[in-house]
């Protein structure tokens, strides 16, 4: 089962979130970013070539023009292969682990899989970036000392996906701002204030994962 919603990120760009429900123990969230726009590409290319032509009229050396073409091509390839992310996917498989995939515009995919045994907790953290934004992150256990946290891994790292409102996380199923919502929030033992707008501070997420699955079941059965 699939459905799609759109949001806006901190820079104002459009983001589309797709949710796929495979089975009670497996769900996938797919966040897609707007593609490379022709307008920005043309603008950058024109700037580089105008600069190169200016240098050429100064130096009368045609190597500059070929160098400019070369640089533009290499720069575009490098941008598509290393920088521009098209889609980020989060696949959650019950009792196996969490997989995060980033697919770049050139087709490259980089995947990280975190086993369930290493996950200590999933929390929504807040950060200050000109205004308060929220991001979801996974806390990993320290292999030597199980009570300590060894790493904080943000989910959806690359897209400036810190959505402006917590509505993003509502759609992901972590908060249910409807009728049953306040009950769910009250049932977690969190000391944080339970308001569905921008007042959530570090909600403890130890129940976030089954919350995800039960919410799914309610909606789709």
């Amino acid at each position: 089962m699939e459905d799609e919603r759109s949001f806006s990120d901190i820079c104002g760009g459009r983001l589309a979130l797709q949710r796929r429900y495979y089975s009670p123990s497996c769900r996938e969230f797919c966040l897609s970013c707007p593609r490379l726009s022709l307008r920005s590409l043309t603008a950058v290319t024109c700037t580089v070539w105008l600069a190169a032509y200016g240098l050429f009229t100064l130096c009368e050396n045609s190597m500059i023009l070929s160098a400019a073409i070369f640089i533009t091509l290499l720069g575009l390839l490098g941008y598509l292969h290393f920088v521009k992310i098209d889609q980020e996917t989060l696949l959650i498989i019950d009792s196996l682990g969490i997989q995060m995939t980033s697919s770049y515009a050139s087709g490259k995919e980089s995947t990280t899989f975190i086993e369930m045994g290493k996950v200590k907790d999933i929390v929504i953290n807040e950060a200050i970036y000109m205004k308060v934004i929220y991001y979801l992150c996974i806390l990993l256990k320290d292999p030597v000392e199980p009570h300590r946290i060894s790493q904080v891994v943000p989910v959806f790292q690359f897209q400036g996906t810190c959505a402006r409102c917590a509505g993003f996380y509502i759609e992901m199923g972590f908060l249910h701002a409807g009728q049953a919502g306040l009950e769910l929030l009250a049932s977690c033992d969190s000391p944080a204030s339970a308001s569905p707008s921008a007042g959530i501070t570090g909600m403890r997420g130890s129940t976030l994962l089954p919350l995800l699955c039960t919410h799914g079941r309610e909606q789709h059965t």
Binding site: S23, S25, C26, I93, S95, L96, Q99
Partner: protein, 581 residues
Amino acid sequence: MVLKAFFPTCCVSVDSGLLVGRWVPEHSSAVVLAVLHFPFIPIQVKQLLAQVRQASQVGVAVLGTWCHCRQEPEESLGRFLEGLGAVFPHEPWLQLCRERGGTFWRCEVTHRQAPAAPSAPGEDQVMLIFYDQRQVLLSQLHPPTVLPDCQAGATPASTGGLAVVFDTVARSEVLFRSDRFDEGPVRLSHWQSEGVEASILVELARRASGPVCLLLASLLSLVSAVGACRVFRLWPLSFLGSKLSTCEQLRHRLEHLTLIFSTRKAENSAQLMRKANTVASVLLDVALGLTLLSWLHGRSRIGHLADALVPVADHVAEELQHLLQWLMGAPAGLKMNRALDQVLGRFFLYHIHLWISYIHLMSPFVEHILWHVGLSACLGLTVALSLLSDIIALLTFHIYCFYVYGARLYCLKIHGLSSLWRLFRGKKWNVLRQRVDSCSYDLDQLFIGTLLFTILLFLLPTTALYYLVFTLLRLLVVAVQGLIHLLVDLINSLPLYSLGLRLCRPYRLAAGVKFRVLQHEAGRPLRLLMQINPLPYSRVMHTYRLPSCGCHPKDSWGALCRKLFFGELIYPWRQRGDKQD
């Protein structure tokens, strides 16, 4: 917990039979290693499994049944399959079923005993995870999880579930040794059942490597015994040996060769990779060296080089003479102290004159020397580069001497000035307490001190200028030598075999796994494909980098600047075991 069944992709289209594998209760996962086909005699199956368990220390057992038939299993087949559950008792009992040629799978789990706690709804869900057996067998997880050598079935629950799967498949190699051409009592299907993988060249190399290694190891021990004899401990040779980078590089390569040809087998995969990387590094070195050799000796390039060498040395000496004439005049408009200037300038000019005379004495022999030095390139490009670095050091020896003279003079001056400056202010350096204390001086001490201070202060610009000029020249030479050393280090420590493995067989070096959800239908079990996630190149370099010579600059930039300011001598390439100057 959801029950995970790891099923090999090679067994997806085989005939019906029994599932043979290992059950890991802590992670609730069943790792299927092979499929055992009908007809079989249960006693023989049990004997085979007991043998495999003993040989591999893995708790292999019959996990359930596999049914691959055209339509729904008939009543009799269903009862037969259930009856097998009584012959091979296993808890839980898996029943996998697939329609021939279809994509629909069915999976049932039967628990014989009632579970202790009432199971939540959906407790008995099954997830099918397909894995490529050959890739999982050959791959190696990074960072390596050390699973202790344990009895059949006992695994610490703290290790990840996937590490257990990899370990199980890797240790069950005994099960995969028979293929379908063997006339054994049972017929198994696994990744090697179409024919065991082997290579004639590898087998021949394995047989030949024993005596060859023995021979070469004895030769190398002879060479190291000669190198360790007492003659080389005596003063001139030991001094030369520690200063010349060629000797250091030769020692390094000798160590490498001893490692390669040692008769001890590599204990774990890290040591094996290290050996392989060393072999690749030595081969690359020798190949590059031979290319250089053929380039040098072709078209009498050595003659051209020898002809060009003496004029270049002459040219360098002439430029130095011009520089000294410039310093003896009014360099950059500064006014020098004429007497000191003349003394220092003439002293250095005499040195250059001596040096040029030596070079001219050597000029008939230069071509022969270069020819023999060029031959050393067959020992490897690194040896040739180290020789080049040593030759540059020898040719610029006069610059090194000038730098030392200038630095010593400047250092003496700075120390004198600082101590007399303290006298000016009525203070003294207390050596016992390592601090500055006040002190009352006599009048004549103060008088002489002030005089000396003034003299030293006015002579400072001349000395400082000479020091500056020759330090810059020395730093230039050191930079060139440093670049050559960097290149030598790169060839020494590049893990070529690991990089090649990552390029051509990426599944061998695994950073982890990744999953892909296969076509899913409601009501059917979830099917996932597990693939190996290869290690990124940066981590390959970092993990398998060979240890280099150890000749790295020890000083940070701040310490270097401080030493330059105070006139202390800098030795950027401090070798191991050098005493402080």
